[in-house]
Every structure is written in structure tokens, then in C-alpha cells.
């Protein structure tokens, strides 16, 4: 029956991309369209004393220059979609985030004025002539320093720059008692540095108000058009939702940064009516660096205690999380419910406490970036356990086997309840690490490492991770502070000729939904894949949707499609039964036809479809048509896991690190399209390795982002990376109809600590017993670690 699921079907969407016919937001040109360009603050913290637009307004082509004071008071700032309360129950600090600042700028890149002109070049020229008088103030960029006494204040109503403090797990005194009784404690102070998502397509938005229909259209490079519409209409502009259409056309990568509702989207939408013309804004890359929400940025201290056998007995983590200057859409959830909840990892640790302080700083907002909180949790755990193995002179793989949670399938055996508020769905952790060791040739490698004597230090690093994906059960996230449900929506519309249009609320910006979802539909309905079309990204054609992030598209969106198909087939069976003069209970559906069991009497899907729309000979009382939707709210998160191994060579003289091999064995549950899953893993690995070896923002003490361009920020390039060696095991998810867990973030979550651990291993084996090399591990940093 399965013709497509599990096969590497080539992607349907490729044709338009390889022929240059993809349609990204900046490719769209509307009649009478004007171009917008922002005047952005060059200072991290300053009072805007005056803005003079006289000279700029007279520049050629200029239509209008908007400043903060032009925006009506009724238009609220950009909202936050998740509320985390202080430990004492107080509501988190939620300072306003205006579309354009009025009095004070709070990070380099804060929007001060918006210039609209006939061409982009003219808007840029005029923006140069807008004269802003700033009174420069002190700035703070580090989340830990921001909470210290005397630090510059980002918002008047957030004393000590604290947005909230938060704690999860067992009581601290219980953890401390277990730690005190431990035979060995490994402690590490470290940073999980800030990185920039850097989708290669810069953000872009076009607002278009159509007077004929009194309707706005926003084209925007987003991962979730409906969510943008909801946030923008209900919380920012106060315009009725049915009068706004949001289209997320082809989108050139997101990695989290295009989830959030940004000020620019609301501004072009509102201004298109004010100015009476469509307005396009597309970010420069430098502007993307300054305004796309960044990722990570934790400063942490963590301790892991072990008994004399090497069993983990306690974990205590303290983290300062940087939120930037304003709260981005999901920012509060990232260092808390997407981070603290993952501190169990794959281990049976009986006592765990996570303590987080989230701080405002004079920097760009920080929010979800591929993995979002889970990479930070994995980094903390996996650095500690590998370091502990070195300190205790134990094998890092053995130490993990000793501590893994025993296998459970979530059906015969219950899900595993953690100390940090989750119940894992299904897991079988030994095989991923065993397979990875096999692929490495572990024993041979250790021999080679011991024999190495050419001035190069070989090292191996492990990371065995778990993630919470398939985001998320609405009631659960609601209880944790989400201001939205996280279900997904699908509509399966069978056309009279038996062709099928599927509308999904998930959004593809590289994930290949047009192929993977079509494979599911074709298989379940027993029709050809060419007879299926997947439609997404338009709030006027797709009923509703929550979009794509948190490795949710297949687990949540795919499940919604399955449920819609079930409804179609159930109704189809009634029509078929009528045509076959049989009872629906006596029919079976396979390979595109209903057959009366035990006979050769059958009717095809195409005939039933036609009958549904030409209901001449039709069951009494049944509505015509064959078109169903489903809202799928998952019962739980899904929990993919895996084992990643890095092998590096460190040059003793220069500190240069060469990543020689990278092995990843992931378990993402059932796989619909292996080729696409492999591709997701590859991309995630490159980003995780990028964080370990190349990437990281550098803010100076005044709050300047001094590496805010591709000349200065080191993106991983083709010649920085090896070909990846990957494999997988399959532990199905027990609670969704496809048994899938999600593959979007796995590569990025597991890989970073493996690379750093490999360098630490190389250094220890070379006689340099250093506990940490800060990321990114540049030659200078590695050399300094060896020579201090």
C-alpha cells in the first residue's frame, strides 16, 4: 500500500527554484509601489532630542518620512506572545516596543524614521539626510552585568534590567544535599554565545491597502502568516482580521528568525493606507544583523555530581539569559520552557534544579533560533558529562551508557517522567550511541589518538541529546504562559475529478512540505503524487494555521492532514456504499478504490469524487462535496534524540582546529522522505558546528555590533566543513498518527557540544587540562587555552 512514504521522492518544489522562478517577497512588484528605508539608531542607548526631516523631505522622489510622533497613540507596539512570571508570582516586565521610537533608542538598529520614496535608492539617499540629534547614554550588553548594581537601565519600569527570574525542578536544598554527597562534582562556567540566524534571504515586507475592497494585504518573509495576521491585527494595528490577508510567499530560510512579528510588517501595512500606495521594505544584510532576532546568549554556571560508580546524582544550573532590548514574540519561552525542561537529557539524574534570570540589555532582541533553548540545555549537559569523564578518567561513551534512561516505547511501557516537568514519549538511547561508535571505529580511533605524534592533537567529542519537538499541546503551553494555541490546521479538498488540493497551516521555507505532505496524501488515499497539490502560505486560502517552527510541521501539521483524509475517506465510503449497494462497514479501501470485502465489486476514488459533486445518484441525507478540514492539537511534545560525534585535529603550534569527521545518528521517529530528513540534519549540523567553530556576535562596551556584516561575522563555508556521516534509528512516536517526531532542529541541537568536547579531549590528551575554550573556538582562543 505504501508507494511513497519512506521513499526519497525528489522534491516537487525544486523546479521553480532551479530555474529562477521562485517568488520571494522582494521579487514581487505591485503597481504604484513605493520603497521604504529605515533611519536606524547608530547608538545603543540614547535620547532622541530632535529629528529634522526638512532637507530629507525635499530630496528627489520622496513621498513621506514617518517618525515616531506620526504614529497614532492607538497603535500599540509589537506584542510578546509568551508570559513567564517571576518566582514570586509577579508578572514579567513587558516594556512597550514601539514601531518607531519616540524618545529613546535602546539598541543599535532601533527604528527612528521611515523614509518612503519612488525608488529604493532615493529612499536610501533621503534617509542619509534625516538629521537626528542624540544624547548618548551608557549601555550594557552582557545579561549578567545588566543585573548588577549600577548597570545602565534599558527600561525605566524593569529595575535591575530583570524581565523575570524563574526556577524549575527539585528544590535547591535537595539538589545541594545530593551534590554534597557526590563522589565527584564537575563544575563549569561558560557562555553560550549569541549567534545570528542569517537566513540568506533578508527579511522583506510589502504592505498594500486596496481601497476597492477596504482590505490590506501584507506580503512578508515569514514562517507563519496566520500568526502574523493575528498578532498584527489584534495587538498592534487594531484592524479587523478579516480585512487583512497575509501572504508568506517563497521564503529563503528562517531558522526561527522569521517566526516573530516585526515592527516593519505592521509599519508597511499601516502606512500603505496612510500613503495610498503599496510600500515595500527589504532589509540590507547589515540591517538584518541589527534587527533580525538573534539566538542563544546565555551566561551559565553548572554543576553535575556523580557517585563513585559514575552515576549522575545531581544537576544544578544557573543561567543569565539575554533577551535584548525588547521582548520578541517567543523570547520568554526560550530560556525557560524550551531550555530548563530539557535538563534531564537522556540521563536518569534524580535531582535537578535550573535557575534562570532573564535580562534586558542594549542589544538586538534574542528569540528562538534553530533549536531554541534546547541547544543551550544540550550544550550545558553534554559539556559537563564529557568533562566529567576526563576528570574521572572514564570513557565518555561508557559514562553515558551507565546513565541512559532505559528503553521505553510509550505503549507497553509508560513514557518517562522527568524531574523537569516533561514526559518523554518514547526512547531507546543505547542504539544511537552504539551505532555512532561503530561508524567512528571507536577502538581504532583511540589507538590512533594515543599514537599521534606529529604536532597535531587528535580529539573526539560526544553529544547525546534529546529535544522536545512537535510543538505543542495547547493546554500545556497555555499553562506555561503561551498566549496562543499551538495546534495545526489542514484542509483536504477533493476536486470533482478526483484531484486533491491540500491546504496546510504549516509553512515551507526549505523543508519540502510540497513533497513530503503530498507523499502522505498520495499514500493514504491511494492516488498518484501528481494528483496532489499542497497549498500553504496565504491566509486567504488556508483556513488557519500556526506555521512552521519547533520541528512541528510533520508531527502536528502532517497529523492534521491525516485526520482530514480520514474524514474524506469516511464520507467517501458512504458514497461508495451507496453506489455499490452495500453497507459501508463491508467495504475496504485500498489503492484508490472501495471494494466490497471478499468480492470484486469496487468503485474508484475518482468515481466517488465525481458523485460527491454531481450527486444525482446519492445517499439520502448526505451533503454533497468531499472537502474536510481538521484541527490537530498534539497530546504531547515529541522527543527525537541522537548521538553526535566529532573528530578534530588541533594544531599545537597555531591552535587551529580542523574538523576531520562528523558522525550523527539521529532518531526522529518514522521517516516520510529520507532524502529530506538527511538534508535537514546536514543543515542543522552546519549551523551547530558554525556556532562551535566560527560564529558569534561581538558587541563592544558601547553596544556597537562590531561584526554586523558578512565581512566580519564568520559564516560556515563549504571548505570549513567535512562531508557528514549520518545514520538513524527509528523509535516511532506513540501519540501521533504518523509516528513521526520531527527533524528540523536535531542537527543543530546535538552538534555544538560534540565539537567543543572534541577540542577539549584533544587538549587533555595532549597534556593541556583545560576545562573550557569559549565559542567560537578560534585558533587564538585554542592557542591561549593551551598556553595560559
Amino acid at each position: 500500500m505504501t508507494n511513497y512514504i519512506g521513499k526519497s521522492v525528489k522534491r516537487v518544489e525544486d523546479k521553480r527554484f532551479i530555474t529562477g522562478q521562485g517568488k520571494y517577497t522582494d521579487d514581487i512588484k505591485l503597481n504604484g509601489m513605493m520603497y521604504g528605508y529605515f533611519v536606524r539608531s547608530p547608538y545603543a542607548h540614547a535620547i532622541v532630542k530632535s529629528i529634522n526631516i526638512d532637507r530629507a523631505s525635499k530630496m528627489p522622489g520622496v513621498n513621506k518620512i514617518l517618525v515616531g510622533a506620526d504614529i497614532p497613540e492607538a497603535i500599540a507596539g509589537v506584542p510578546c506572545g509568551w508570559q513567564v512570571d517571576f518566582k514570586n508570582g509577579d508578572t514579567m516586565k513587558e516594556p512597550p516596543h514601539p514601531l518607531l521610537v519616540r524618545k529613546k533608542v535602546r539598541h543599535v538598529g532601533d527604528g527612528v524614521a521611515f523614509v518612503v520614496a519612488e525608488t529604493r535608492a532615493q529612499a536610501k539617499d533621503a534617509a542619509d539626510e534625516v538629521d537626528v540629534d542624540y544624547e548618548i547614554l551608557d549601555a550594557v550588553t552582557c545579561p549578567k552585568k545588566a543585573t548588577e548594581e549600577g548597570a545602565a537601565q534599558v527600561h525605566e519600569d524593569a529595575p535591575g534590567n530583570l524581565c523575570f527570574d524563574w526556577e524549575l525542578g527539585n528544590p535547591k536544598d535537595e539538589v545541594a544535599a545530593a551534590m554534597a554527597a557526590a563522589a565527584h562534582v564537575t563544575e563549569l562556567d561558560f557562555s553560550n554565545q549569541r549567534v545570528v540566524p542569517n537566513a540568506i534571504e533578508p527579511r522583506s515586507a510589502i504592505g498594500h491597502y486596496d481601497t476597492a475592497y477596504d482590505k490590506y494585504t501584507l506580503y512578508t518573509s515569514t514562517q507563519n502568516p496566520h500568526l502574523i495576521r493575528l498578532l498584527m491585527c489584534a495587538f498592534v494595528l487594531g484592524i479587523p482580521e478579516h480585512k487583512v490577508r497575509v501572504i508568506g510567499p517563497d521564503v529563503g530560510g528562517g531558522f526561527g528568525s522569521k517566526i516573530f512579528h516585526y515592527a516593519e510588517e505592521a509599519l508597511v501595512t499601516w502606512a500603505s493606507k496612510e500613503l495610498g500606495c503599496p510600500i515595500k521594505w527589504t532589509a540590507d544584510r547589515s540591517e538584518s544583523f541589527l534587527t533580525d532576532a538573534h539566538g542563544r546568549d546565555h551566561v551559565s554556571n553548572a554543576k553535575m555530581g556523580f557517585d563513585s560508580e559514575g552515576k549522575i546524582v545531581a544537576l544544578q544550573a544557573y543561567t543569565y539569559a539575554n533577551l535584548g532590548a525588547y521582548l520578541s514574540t517567543f523570547a520568554p519561552a526560550v530560556p525557560t520552557y524550551l531550555h530548563g525542561t530539557l535538563m534531564q537529557g537522556l540521563y536518569t539524574t534524580p535531582k535537578i534544579n535550573v535557575d534562570v534570570k532573564a535580562a534586558f540589555t542594549h542589544t538586538c532582541a534574542v528569540d528562538a533560533y534553530r533549536g531554541a533553548g534546547r541547544p543551550e540545555a544540550t550544550y550545558l549537559l553534554e559539556r559537563l558529562i564529557d568533562l566529567a569523564a576526563l576528570e574521572m578518567d572514564m570513557d565518555p561513551a561508557e559514562l553515558r551508557f551507565k546513565n541512559f534512561i532505559p528503553a521505553f516505547d510509550g505503549v507497553e511501557q509508560e513514557g518517562y517522567t522527568t524531574q523537569v516537568a516533561l514526559q518523554y514519549d518514547s526512547g531507546n538511547y543505547d542504539p544511537v550511541l552504539k551505532r555512532a561508535l561503530e561508524m567512528v571505529g571507536y577502538e581504532e580511533f583511540r589507538k590512533e589518538q594515543a599514537a599521534q605524534s606529529n604536532g597535531k592533537l587528535l580529539g573526539i567529542g560526544f553529544s547525546t541529546y534529546i529535544e522536545a519537538c512537535g510543538i505543542a499541546p495547547s493546554a500545556v503551553v497555555g499553562a506555561l504562559g503561551a498566549r496562543a494555541g499551538l495546534f495545526e490546521v489542514a484542509q483536504v479538498r477533493v476536486q470533482p475529478t478526483g484531484k486533491v488540493s491540500v491546504f496546510t497551516g504549516a509553512h515551507s521555507h526549505g523543508q519540502g512540505h510540497e513533497t513530503t505532505f503530498a507523499q502522505i496524501v498520495a499514500d493514504r488515499m491511494g492516488i498518484g503524487i501528481d494528483d496532489v497539490e499542497i497549498i500553504h502560505g496565504d491566509s486567504d486560502s488556508v483556513a488557519f494555521g500556526m506555521g512552521t517552527y519547533g520541528s512541528r510541521s510533520l508531527a502536528v501539521g502532517g497529523s492534521a492532514i491525516v485526520n482530514s483524509i480520514d474524514k474524506v475517506l469516511e464520507k467517501g465510503a458512504k458514497i461508495a456504499a451507496h453506489l455499490l449497494e452495500a453497507s459501508a462497514d463491508d467495504l475496504e479501501y485500498a489503492e484508490g478504490k472501495w471494494t466490497v470485502k471478499g468480492t470484486d465489486k469496487s468503485v474508484s476514488f475518482g468515481d466517488v469524487s465525481l458523485t460527491a459533486y454531481v450527486p444525482h445518484n446519492y445517499p439520502e441525507g448526505l451533503e454533497p462535496g468531499l472537502d474536510f478540514n481538521a484541527f490537530y492539537d498534539p497530546a504531547n511534545f515529541t522527543y527525537p534524540f541522537g548521538a553526535h560525534v566529532a573528530i578534530v585535529e588541533v594544531d599545537k603550534e597555531t591552535g587551529e582546529v580542523k574538523l576531520k569527521r562528523f558522525i550523527a545518528v539521529d532518531d526522529v521517529g518514522n521517516v516520510i522522505n529520507p532524502m529530506i530528513v538527511d538534508g535537514q540534519i546536514h543543515g542543522g549540523l552546519a549551523q551547530g558546528i558554525g556556532q562551535a567553530m566560527h560564529e558569534g556576535t561581538v558587541y563592544d562596551e558601547t553596544g556597537q555590533l562590531i561584526n554586523g556584516s558578512y565581512m566580519d561575522y564568520c559564516m560556515p563555508r563549504a571548505d570549513d566543513l567535512p562531508s557528514f556521516e549520518i545514520d538513524r534509528t527509528v523509535t516511532p512516536c506513540p501519540h501521533n498518527p504518523l509516528g513521526v517526531k520531527g527533524a528540523g532542529e536535531a542537527g543543530c541541537i546535538g552538534s555544538t557540544p560534540a565539537v567543543v568536547n572534541a577540542v577539549i579531549d584533544a587538549l587533555w590528551k595532549g597534556g593541556f587540562k583545560v576545562k573550557d575554550v569559549p565559542m567560537p573556538m578560534t585558533p587564538e582562543r585554542v592557542w591561549t587555552a593551551m598556553n595560559n
Binding site: 525544486d14 529562477g20 521562485g22 520571494y24 535608492a121 529563503g252 549551523q687
Partner: protein, 158 residues
């Protein structure tokens, strides 16, 4: 629009006026509507705008439109021949060398230039040739395979 230029793009001659500062990439996208060539940065680093000018791969954000006067330009829209895909396009599809597709046109233009000069490159040579083209989706793994696919295909008799 003081500068008249004539450029042959994908075999078709275009004449028109451009500002002296107009970049070739903006000329292609805005004047000619050839939006397959993308802009990913402002520092000539990412390679999303790579095209062929007089047979050589160049970053079209680093060339002024007036410099292209009298030149032969090929963009991604001109890669396929009478509807049949170029081997590099086939390679990217067969080996899943693209995800979001944004870097893809530039990648393919760089790759075809590489294969012209080095029809049978090693993996290291391919990776080296791609250092001026960023991809954030694929980790480059399948891009390398796509180029190897094209190399093989272009060498085997049709």
C-alpha cells in the same frame, strides 16, 4: 538615467538607460524583471547574485550595470536549454542540493563556471570553489554531491 547601455542577457539584447551607480544585480532584477538572481548581502560575500558575464562567474552586486555594457550575461533563467534542464540543475534536483532555494541560482552559476574550467573536480576543489557562496540550509553536503552529479553527467556522452 543618463547612461545608455546595451547588454545581451540570456541571448536577448536589451538597451536602456541606467544611473551610473546602478548595480548589475539591480539592473537585472528591477529593470529586466529577472528576479532569479538574488541579493543576500551588501558586502559581496554571499554569492547569491552570481551570474556569468562574458563567460565568467561574477557577483553581480560587485559590477555596475554600465560596466556590463556590450557584455553577454547569463543568469539562472538562461541555464536551461529549450526547456531541458542543464546538468547542474538536474544535479541539484537529483541530489537534493537545495532547500529554501535562495542561494541556489548563485550556487549553480558558480558551479558551472567551476566545471567549465575543471570538468572533474575533487571534493576539496568543489568546496574551495564554493567559498564565496553561502548556503544556510544544506550544510553544503548535498551541494557538493549535486556538482559531482553534474560533472559526471557532463562528461558522459549524451
Amino acid at each position: 538615467m543618463g547612461n545608455m547601455i546595451t547588454v545581451t542577457v540570456n541571448g536577448k539584447e536589451h538597451s536602456g538607460g541606467v544611473e551610473g551607480r546602478t548595480l548589475l544585480v539591480d539592473y537585472l532584477r528591477e529593470h529586466l524583471g529577472l528576479t532569479g538572481t538574488h541579493i543576500g548581502c551588501d558586502t559581496s560575500s554571499c554569492g547569491a547574485c552570481t551570474i556569468h558575464m562574458d563567460g565568467k562567474a561574477v557577483k553581480s552586486c560587485t559590477v555596475l550595470a554600465v560596466q556590463a555594457d556590450g557584455s553577454e550575461v547569463t543568469t539562472v533563467e538562461g541555464l536551461a536549454n529549450n526547456g531541458s534542464l542543464h546538468p547542474i540543475q538536474e544535479g541539484f534536483k537529483e541530489e537534493h542540493g537545495l532547500q529554501c532555494g535562495f542561494c541556489t541560482p548563485g550556487m549553480m552559476m558558480t558551479a558551472t563556471d567551476l566545471l567549465k574550467n575543471n570538468p572533474n573536480p575533487t571534493e576539496d576543489e568543489i568546496r574551495h570553489a564554493l567559498e564565496g557562496n553561502f548556503c544556510r540550509c544544506t550544510g553544503y553536503h548535498n551541494i557538493v554531491k549535486s556538482i559531482q552529479y553534474a560533472a559526471k553527467k557532463m562528461q558522459s556522452p549524451a
